[in-house]
């Protein structure tokens, strides 16, 4: 096993009922790298993330086999699945503001983890909202309802929530769909800062975004890894696989 791999996936298979969507893939993710997963819709990218933080458990007809290890521990055998989910921050593509105040939205995860001291919660709320590029817009109205924000604001709120439990691994699943390009750039700057303290997995349909941010990129197509390499190779003129070149340059998919 490579020395610094934080996440190792071996022969992962996922099926919904009788339909297999991930066909036995294996790869590693290094500590503190930004790892991009690109590929057309329905290739299994989101399902892969859900296997990682075990939210796949909430889909009754899903069956998982294979091994996913985080820091050496098998994710499917972990005793405290909630601690696992706190270790992994998840930003879903569609913005969701919980029907609580903005403050409570961000303080929710720390409170669930057992933190109660107001000073600490205040600090975490401010820090996460700043990192999500939302603090300036909402700092005077932290008590207003999270569901009343605009779509882009709610997506940043989702990011703030994902950061609020200080994850070691941050997964962003097409986070920029509901956000304007300027704000997207701000958040991309934040991600570059955050990688000092966490590993970042970036699932995206925007190949330019992956090119900008990621150290390594994995091209997933129809539940199989087409190619996995350093980003400067994937996005160059001569990636190892012809399909990669075609997808990146918009010739298909």
């Amino acid at each position: 096993m490579p020395a610094d791999a934080q996440i190792t996936v071996r022969d992962l298979r996922l099926a919904y009922g009788h339909k297999e969507v991930i066909h036995g893939i294996s790869f590693d993710i290094q500590r503190n790298e930004i790892f991009a997963i690109i590929g057309p819709s329905q290739s299994g990218k989101t399902s892969l993330l859900r296997c990682l933080n075990r939210t796949i458990d909430f889909t009754p007809e899903a069956r998982v086999s294979g091994v996913i290890q985080v820091d050496g521990a098998d994710v499917r055998k972990t005793k405290d699945v909630f601690a696992l989910r706190r270790k992994i921050g998840m930003v879903a593509p569609l913005p969701v503001g919980l029907p609580k105040s903005i403050y409570d939205n961000v303080a929710f995860a720390p409170r669930c983890a057992g933190m109660t001291r107001k000073r600490q919660l205040d600090e975490i709320v401010e820090q996460c909202l700043r990192q999500a590029a939302l603090w300036d817009e909402v700092k005077d109205r932290l008590e207003s309802l999270g569901t009343k924000l605009s779509g882009g604001q709610q997506q940043r709120l989702t990011i703030a929530r994902a950061l609020s439990h200080q994850p070691e691994i941050l997964c962003l699943d097409e986070f920029s769909i509901a956000i304007d390009p300027v704000t997207t750039m701000r958040i991309e700057e934040v991600l570059k800062e955050l990688r000092q303290n966490m590993t970042i997995i970036l699932v995206t349909n925007l190949t330019q975004q992956a090119r900008r941010l990621a150290d390594r990129t994995m091209f997933l197509w129809n539940g199989e890894i087409v190619e996995l390499d350093r980003s400067d190779v994937i996005f160059s003129e001569h990636p190892a696989n012809r399909k990669t070149y075609e997808y990146v340059n918009g010739i298909f998919g």
Binding site: A109, V190, E193, L194, Q196
Partner: protein, 315 residues
């Protein structure tokens, strides 16, 4: 766009990573979840228990020598307490239930659907809210109060205006039952009409149809499943109603020949005789068997209606 506000090397103390829930919170949550599981299972037990219990108490009569299911269902001779000639035929009561319910539906369905159409298509939103509240209150009236109304108010009106010999009869029960069933027909019917997509209405209006033509030619056919379900639920209500028909239809156990005859429905019969049937006697068991029959009838009706209604809501 400067991000210097957050670009200080992140001085997180990782407090959340080290936080842990207090033991009492974890144990309290486990206890609460155990309670939830317990309630879930006991509800399941009660629900299944009712089915089994009623069937179990009815069962003994099936084995008795002088009992036959065909006589039960098809004979109109009901003499459960006679010394020498015990007969357990419920056909007269089935006829009673059927006649009262059918006549009630004949009255309730047109008015109920008409009201549903009015609520859904024709009236303004304030009128609609008021009307819906009134109908909801109508639905809340207890059945014994309806029975009382039938016994006192309706029976006098019937005797006065139709010259019938006695005021408690099929007609009385049907009117009372109609008023009781209308709210459910209106409520489910309105749901069914609301479920028809607005695009149908817009298409019709674009073609120049009046609202009436829209209703008659487009909406009613489109909503017919839901409207059928509404009627079925009304029927289920009618078949299962006890006190109101007990008080409003009289005491004669015979097949009615006119709407002015007194009858007794299946439900009313159980209510009238259960008090006098000694525990575990044949009479007792056969009353439970009538209960089983009622159970099955309402089960089928409600199940059918429910399947249709769930089909609508899923759209």
């Amino acid at each position: 766009m400067s991000t210097s506000a957050i670009s200080k090397p992140v001085e997180q103390s990782f407090a959340v990573r080290k936080a842990a829930r207090p033991v009492w919170a974890v144990l309290g949550e486990r206890a609460l979840e155990a309670l939830i599981y317990l309630c879930g299972f006991s509800a399941i037990i009660f629900v299944l228990g009712i089915f089994f219990f009623v069937f179990k108490e009815a069962f003994p009569i099936l084995g008795r020598k002088l009992f036959s299911v065909s006589q039960f269902l098809f004979s109109e001779q009901w003499y459960p307490t006679s010394e020498g000639n015990k007969r357990y035929g419920v056909l007269a009561m089935i006829a009673g239930t059927f006649s009262v319910t059918a006549l009630a539906m004949l009255i309730a369905v047109p008015f109920g659907l008409g009201t549903a159409i009015y609520l859904s298509e024709f009236c303004g939103s304030r009128v609609r809210e008021t009307l819906k509240v009134v109908i909801e209150l109508l639905a809340a009236i207890p059945s014994v109060v309806w029975g009382f109304i039938g016994l006192t108010v309706m029976s006098r009106l019937i005797v006065k205006y139709t010259g019938a010999p006695v005021g408690v009869n099929v007609l009385n029960g049907a009117i009372v039952l109609a008023l009781m069933s209308v709210p459910i027909i209106v409520s489910i019917g309105e749901d069914a009409l609301k479920a028809v997509p607005d695009s149908y209405r817009e298409a019709g209006l674009a073609l120049g149809a009046t609202r009436w033509q829209l209703v008659w030619r487009v909406l009613l056919p489109a909503a017919k499943n839901g409207l059928l379900a509404a009627v079925l639920l009304g029927v289920g209500r009618g078949v299962g109603e006890t006190m109101a028909v007990l008080m409003a239809t009289g005491h004669a156990v015979h097949i009615p020949h006119s709407v002015f005859d007194s009858v007794r429905t299946l439900t009313a019969n159980i209510a009238a005789e259960l008090g006098e049937a000694p525990a575990n006697s044949d009479h007792y068991h056969v009353l439970f068997l009538i209960g089983v029959l009622l159970f099955m009838m309402t089960f089928v009706v409600n199940l059918t209606a429910d399947l249709i209604v769930r089909g609508i809501k899923r759209k």
